[in-house]
């Protein structure tokens, strides 16, 4: 998952944040909290406030919980280029092109009959509880062992 660049503002704390309430562009990490006399400000809390309207936003660079919740609600993750050997190594949300299939012959006969063959683009939707992939208009659920046999083309 390390290759996934986070979308949205929180990862880059130094950059500005746009307040969703009043629309002010501001640089978080200013002196606002201490100036307002917030007792938690000494240790540093995991929220940030708009200096104009005081609207509170989670600071995802500090809060693991906020990042987790963001991940749960994330829409389509960004498209990523990769250099994975097999489908089993691809992060959720990424694409690959099939180079060849490995596995028991009757499994391969089934996969090819479902349209999965060399040269086809595959989109990994998720990895747990099993892999779910899209091949053209077909959505397949498959176990990790099967995904590990789908060797990808090196781009």
């Amino acid at each position: 998952m390390a290759t996934l660049p986070e979308t949205g503002p929180p990862a880059a704390v130094a950059a500005h944040v746009t307040c969703p309430l009043c629309g002010l562009d501001y640089q978080p990490g200013g002196e606002t909290c201490r100036e307002h006399g917030c007792p938690i400000a000494i240790g540093g809390c995991a929220t940030q406030h708009c200096p104009r309207c005081g609207y509170t936003m989670p600071d995802e660079s500090r809060s693991g919980a906020a990042r987790l919740i963001r991940r749960l609600f994330r829409r389509q993750p960004p498209v990523v280029t990769h250099t994975a050997g097999s489908l089993a190594e691809l992060p959720a949300g990424s694409f690959g092109v099939v180079e060849r299939l490995q596995g028991p012959p009757d499994l391969l006969a089934r996969l090819t009959a479902q349209g999965l063959a060399p040269g086809v683009a595959v989109h990994v939707l998720q990895r747990l509880p099993t892999f779910v992939i899209e091949v053209g208009e077909t959505t397949l659920g498959l176990e990790r062992d099967v995904a590990a046999g789908i060797v990808l083309r090196q781009s």
């Binding site: 009757d106 009959a113 063959a117 779910v132 208009e137 077909t138 659920g141 498959l142 099967v146």
Partner: protein
């Protein structure tokens, strides 16, 4: 609705002159075989063409039976076949379609109508090109054309016709659009052409296989994947020429719901919600409200007193007792079968049809794959298991969708051993409602534990392989009301024909035993086991005896005993555990024998019945020793 079917039958037969006349069938085919990939709307087209209802299912591979009907307004026979991805069969139910296609080849009056998902031309062409190889007269129907249009996919029907040399028609079968075009095109069915060259090491052997040569089985799958790859190469080329790529904006809600249902986090609350809905509808509404209405209201309130009055005019005691006595065919057999079992069956099968048609079941397979791995199965086994909660006998039949012999055997064993059918489940839920919650937990833990342990052990003892898990996830759809109702009605009818006679036979056996004073003998013979091991009243022997016929009948009998205050909570749990682990019914044994042979059926029975009593005894000892669930 913005839908346009290209042209009528006559305009479309362009470019057919080049086809050898020998490939053409009679002007009016007598037999029409529908085939296609799973979930392309084959059964919907079948219904639209024949005006007859058939089972339409969303789970790949559910249409195990072949449906037949007559073309409305014509005399031709229409045959619906199970969905398949390649003509050359890999599983038992693909073989059904394969035999059908071969029979068309030898019959001048028969044609194949290949039904395709217009959104997924590439996969459909894999089959079309195999039909070309086999030279079977074919009409290609691109169904769900409206969905393809909504996705922005543009299909060049005339170009496809010219390239393949067969009539190609667009339809929306669920709304009856484009049907006349299909019927008009039947007479113009030809063997599809494939202009693209096939590699030397694939083409001729594939033809030999398609024509019926028996291959060395160990090389077949490896050859098939090369054959499919070659065909997919051709299919890609044709698809690129005659269909544009679509965008995936269409049906955004259905896509998102389909994704959420298998989401590693959100999938679980959805699963719990589905199970809770099932419990509320079947357990609370069906087994509670409806059973009360039917039993206390209809049977105890009206039918039984009427029958008793009616039969009181009969001078013969024997006949009177046969119908309305303690073990009367009406007062016991019919009221058990209709008042207690029927409401539960109806509500369960309604839920099952809803789940099936919505496309949720394959997603349930994804969520449950890991649990089934422990038992040597894979997620696909969830379909027979959930169906088993309705009727284990019916579920035993659907174990055919599992790919290996070992998995089919394992699934049958677990169904027979631990999955309570809805009739029994309803009675169990009603009985467990009167014991402490901890006692109900003991029942669940005992049954689930035995299933996991037996599955785990059997997976290691039985020879053979567990197949890797691959399941196709069809789009989530809103189930059609008519379809759900007709499917439920068909299954309830099947169940009544199957179960009600056995309820009557069971009652009759009890009546005979009672009359011949043999019931006392049975009770005395069963006493060491029933009282000694299980700690139940000796009269429960009669219930267990009938449990060999149908375990829900036995559960109902025990339910009756407990309502009279004859059982304490430990006895209730022990009785329920034992009867849950019984083989569901005599019909289930017959079904196992039919599928896997008498030796297997006998071995399962010899394993399950002693195990049921042993576990029942253990539960009794455990509960008495720990005091858990004693109320």
């Amino acid at each position: 609705m913005g839908f346009n079917i290209g042209s009528d039958g006559s305009a479309a037969v362009a470019g057919l002159g080049a086809v050898p006349a020998g490939a053409a069938p009679d002007a009016h085919p007598r037999r029409i075989v529908l085939l296609g990939n799973p979930n392309v709307g084959k059964s919907a087209l079948f219904n639209a063409l024949t005006g007859l209802r058939a089972t339409v299912s969303n789970y790949p591979g559910t249409t195990v039976e072949v449906y037949r009907g007559r073309l409305s307004g014509g005399s031709a026979e229409v045959i619906d076949s199970p969905g398949l991805n390649s003509l050359l069969p890999l599983s038992e139910d693909e073989r059904v379609t394969w035999e059908l296609v071969r029979s068309v080849r030898g019959d001048a009056g028969a044609v194949v109508v290949q039904v395709a998902d217009a959104k997924n031309l590439r996969r459909a062409l894999l089959l079309t090109l195999q039909l070309a190889h086999l030279e079977v007269p074919t009409v290609l129907v691109l169904n769900m054309h409206d969905e393809a249009q909504a996705r922005g996919i543009k299909l060049d029907l005339a170009g496809l016709e010219a390239a393949l040399g067969i009539p190609v028609r667009a339809t929306v079968a669920t709304r009856g659009l484009g049907l006349e075009g299909v019927i008009a095109a039947l007479a113009a069915a030809r063997a599809p052409r494939n202009h693209l060259p096939m590699p030397e090491d694939v083409g001729p052997p594939a033809l030999a296989l398609l024509c019926g040569a028996e291959p060395p089985p160990q090389h077949l799958p490896a050859f098939l994947s090369r054959y499919h790859e070659a065909l997919l190469g051709h299919a890609d080329a044709i698809t690129r020429r005659f269909a544009t790529d679509g965008n995936s904006t269409g049906k955004a809600f259905s896509r998102r719901l389909g994704r959420l249902a298998v989401h590693p986090v959100w999938g679980w609350p959805i699963l719990l919600a589905v199970l809770y809905g099932l419990y509320e509808f079947v357990g609370v509404f069906g087994a509670g409200t409806l059973v009360d209405l039917m039993e206390d209201g209809l049977f105890h309130g009206y039918l039984n007193p009427w029958a008793v009055t009616l039969f009181s005019y009969l001078p013969v005691d024997l006949v009177r007792d046969l119908f309305v006595g303690e073990y009367g065919l009406i007062t016991m057999g019919l009221s058990y079968g209709l008042a207690i079992v029927l409401p539960i069956i109806v509500t369960f099968f309604t839920c099952f049809a809803l789940l099936e048609d919505s496309g949720y079941l394959p997603r349930l397979a994804v969520m449950s794959d890991r649990a089934f791995r422990v038992m040597g199965l894979n997620g696909k086994a969830v379909l027979p298991m959930v169906l088993g909660l309705g009727c284990d006998t019916m579920a035993t039949l659907t174990t055919r969708i599992l790919p290996t012999r070992k998995e089919r055997l394992l699934a049958m064993l677990l169904l027979a051993l631990g999955v309570p059918c809805s009739a029994q489940l309803g009675v169990i839920l009603a009985m467990l409602a009167v014991v402490p919650a901890s006692a109900a937990m003991v029942w669940f833990a005992a049954v689930a534990g035995v299933m996991l342990a037996v599955g785990w052990l059997a997976a290691r003892v039985l020879p053979g392989e567990r197949a890797a898990f691959v399941v196709e996830l069809p789009p989530m759809r809103l189930p059609g009301l008519q379809n759900v109702l007709s499917k439920t009605a068909a299954r309830v009818e099947w169940y009544l024909k199957e179960a009600l006679p056995l309820f009557l036979v069971g009652t009759f056996v009890l009546f005979l035993l009672d009359r011949l004073r043999l019931l006392d003998v049975v009770i005395r013979v069963g006493e060491p086991v029933v009282t000694g091991i299980l700690g139940l009243p000796a009269e429960a022997s009669a219930a267990f005896l009938i449990g060999f016929l149908r375990r829900d009948f036995a559960a109902t009998r025990l339910f009756d005993m407990s309502r009279g205050g004859g059982l304490d909570s430990v006895q209730i749990v022990v009785a329920m555990v034992t009867i849950t682990l019984f083989i569901p019914c005599i019909a289930n044994v017959f079904m196992i024998a039919k599928e896997r042979g008498w030796r297997t059926a006998a071995a399962m029975a010899a394993f399950i019945f002693p195990l049921a009593f042993a576990i029942g005894g253990l539960v009794r000892v455990f509960m008495r020793a720990t005091g858990l669930g004693v109320g």
